[in-house]
Symmetry: C2
Subunit: 497 residues, 2 copies
């Protein structure tokens, strides 16, 4: 028996057990090879990954240390008597080996994998293996099985509502925060929209990052229910909900790897929406040569996949293929994107027109889920709600109800990137712009990002500013500057100018 000690280290959702090299219960040679243990003493055994300690001040030979994640799970006080044993092998890991060699996995296998991840039986390395192994190809039934498994046990019920709508975008286009404008319009119209939003995985800002500039997004289930009842819409960081918990563990690994495969994204989005009790969902699939989805064929395959999974799980899906050839809006990065959104809601003349039009178009699609609305009227209704100021009122109510955020400052380290010749902006490379923004510190710092002053089709004079970099710290500023000097992401055409 060992005495339990809390080692107050947070290890990205991974359970770690710290054992002294001279621990009485193990021989030094065993410890070298042993990697996973089960810790007994609590209500259920807790899986943990072993790290060896050489300092008795940290963990004594008569103790077992657990990091914060594992300590929370075992739910015992420090000093409690516990015992450990080599962990029983995790059977679902065999399925991952089958996937590496190109097999199609069954629904049962996906369900075991997800259950084992939820029970913290996978190390982050194991999760990475699963993501990469399944990332190269998955059949439609595999995506369905993964989605179903990821919904989990807890589902939010909306007994008072006949339909519950939501909107989500597949990403790959910097800027493009239609979500917040849509939520305001839908709230003003009166359909319930519990928008479960994510933090950025690989982009300059997730919807939750951008909305966090305006309001508190740490909203749990009860609060969400109350907010939607009161204001019809709310935007919550999905991590603050307890639903679809495996998705959170997986996305921690995806963020660290910087990898996000399309089919995982599909399963992740749909499982969260289903767990949130959404019945009707508009999905935006932007297509562009430098977007996440590169061709209309690929977008069409994704749309059919989404429709298939939605049909099988009784989720009404309207998947819309949109133009993702260049960034949408001017601001890229949370603070700048929030500025654009508020300009649109305030009907400012300098609001970005591309973001405005796209938001109205998509909001119209969401509104048309309402059986009472005549087909084809969505756009016009959305536009009326926006221009009348009702959308702004709704947004102000939402922000007030969720709690106004202490708005972070825009990064004060700036550099204007200028045109090296006169001409017309021919293209703006989404991936390059995203990369420069991430190097500048977005999404890590809400105030970091890029402000695009010119878009495709705009005329520029040599020396005129194309965009402005905002960084919060000097390291990121240097990274972004050095990346820009290689390739600033803009192509300028001088022909016929």
């Amino acid at each position: 028996m060992l005495g339990l000690k809390h080692v107050a280290v947070n290890s990205f959702n991974e359970n770690i057990a710290y054992i002294h090299r001279d621990c009485a219960d193990f021989q030094a040679d065993d410890i070298k090879i042993l990697t996973k243990v089960e810790v007994y003493g609590g209500a259920e055994p807790v899986y943990a990954f072993l790290q060896v300690v050489d300092d008795a001040k940290l963990v004594k030979p008569t103790e077992l240390g657990l990091n914060t994640e594992a300590f929370r799970q075992i739910n015992l006080p420090e000093g409690a008597k516990i015992s450990i044993a080599p962990a029983q092998p995790v059977p679902s890991l065999a399925a991952i080996k089958r996937k590496i060699t190109g097999n199609i996995l069954s629904g049962g296998e996906y369900s075991s994998i997800i259950n084992d991840i939820a029970a913290h039986r996978y190390s982050n390395m194991d999760i990475a293996s699963f993501l990469v192994a399944s990332g190269s190809f998955m059949t439609a039934s595999e995506v369905l099985a993964l989605t179903e498994a990821m919904i989990g046990e807890d589902v939010i019920r909306w007994d008072d509502e006949s339909i519950v709508v939501d909107f989500h975008c597949f990403g790959g286009v910097p800027g493009n925060k239609t979500d917040i404008v849509i939520a305001a319009i839908v709230a003003a119209y009166g359909l319930p929209m519990p928008r479960t939003a994510g933090r950025s995985l690989t982009s300059c800002a997730g919807v939750a990052d951008t909305f966090a500039v305006l309001a508190n997004v740490d909203i749990d289930e009860d609060k969400l229910r109350a907010l939607v009842k009161e204001n019809r819409a709310a935007i919550t960081d999905f991590n603050s909900l307890s639903i679809a918990s495996t998705g959170k563990i997986i996305s921690t690994v995806e963020r660290q790897l910087g990898i996000m495969q399309l089919q995982h994204l599909a399963a992740s989005i749909l499982s969260i929406k289903l767990a949130a009790g959404v019945t009707h969902l508009v999905l935006d699939i932007p297509v562009g040569p430098n977007s996440r989805i590169r061709s209309t064929n690929e977008a069409m395959r994704l749309r059919k996949l989404l429709e298939y999974v939605g049909d099988m799980l009784s989720l009404e899906i309207d998947a819309v293929i949109t133009d993702g050839s260049e960034p949408i809006g001017n601001g890229i990065g949370a603070v700048l994107e929030a500025r654009d959104v508020m300009k649109i809601l305030r009907n400012k003349p300098d609001a970005p027109q591309d973001l405005l039009e796209k938001s109205l178009f998509l909001a119209g699609r969401v509104l048309e889920f309402d059986p009472k609305l005549r087909g084809g009227q969505g756009y016009a209704v959305a536009k009326e709600i926006l221009t009348s100021g009702r959308a702004l009122e709704a947004m102000n109510r939402i922000i007030f109800a969720q709690g106004k955020a202490p708005q972070p400052q825009l990064g004060h380290l700036t550099r204007d990137i200028v045109a090296n010749r006169s001409g017309v902006v021919q293209s703006i490379n989404n991936e390059r712009i995203n990369k420069i923004g991430v190097l500048a510190g977005a999404s890590q710092y809400p105030g970091a990002g890029l402000d695009l002053l010119k878009k495709v089709g705009d005329t520029v004079e040599q020396g005129e500013t194309l965009y402005r970099i905002h960084a919060v710290n000097s390291n990121n500023f240097a990274f972004a500057n050095s990346a820009v000097d290689g390739n600033n992401g803009y192509e300028i055409n001088t022909k016929g100018y």
Copy 2:
């Protein structure tokens, strides 16, 4: 500036930086998202993966803790002034994303990946992604590029020798420790054989595990050179050498994942042999329905791959395809395997004949690398060396020179697995037997394993013992027992009996 603190935790070759949540140099929100940092202050910046601490006794807000791996690399005393910054993105990670989507990587890309792994710029998760992404398919030139990159800078030179031989097996067959018998015969014959051996990754015992039962295997370059000069052969745990260091980092991840892809194994074996200065190599490729390599076609493709890589890197390879349809020898697990090997070297009548014959055959192939030996004479010479007792003498000298090991005890928790009907042993499933052995505690405990009393073709009566399980602790004993009750790995044919 922060004060350096050594947090004496060993984290499987991964650099970890421990930062207090209230660290003055970062805001709490940044820490949530930041995962990799560069630590400045030593001769070179050290990459580390960030974990957040909530206990000032562990790391103060004015300190930065480094785990043992990272603390060794920064090579500064505790209290030294250091600073940290977000890590610059690792460019070679982009190559891994290319591999996930099915691309062929260039030599330059493999070289960058291996350099970045060697410089500890990859988290174990990143390494897992690389292994899984490249695990499903690699071209011959990709395997060549990976092998070349993994050789590294340090290569052992044997200026006094015209040829340096070695032997390695691709595994998948329990038992099968021909290696130690071969080393004894080759040493007695007089060819230099610096056998770089591995610890088990997924099997019941690696060659280094088994030889560690007999002798010390922690042998560094200088000692290896002296031993080979003195006795012509030595068997070292490759981890105790400083060569091919990336291979060690990668194999730590492979062991934790329990995944070992054939092409990585090929690159790993060949790079270690080349770094060890080997010029002539016999490779054993066992083929069987439950072995690592399942068909003769697959074995032939592997042989051609090995020959191609060997030719390009000036390593003479004799790749031999052998029968891997059932375990070889009786003992499975380090102590039992060492027993079998010593029985053979001592010419005991109860020595396992299959292991004896295979060892002589393969030792003969190694001996035939000697230009002075007439073609086809290898086997006969090997047999004469063994039966005359010269192989035993050579082995005793090797053991004495390396340092005799305190022989671990055979596991005292035993169970005899008996035939449930009379008949003839039709087949023994390698994978199942290996799994039961691993569950029983092999390779973690040298004394754990299986002792096979019956082999394919043997007649058994109902109730007669097929094999005996040896376990060291009750948990493993229970795991093995419950696995055996499902499927003991033996098939008994009653027809015509």
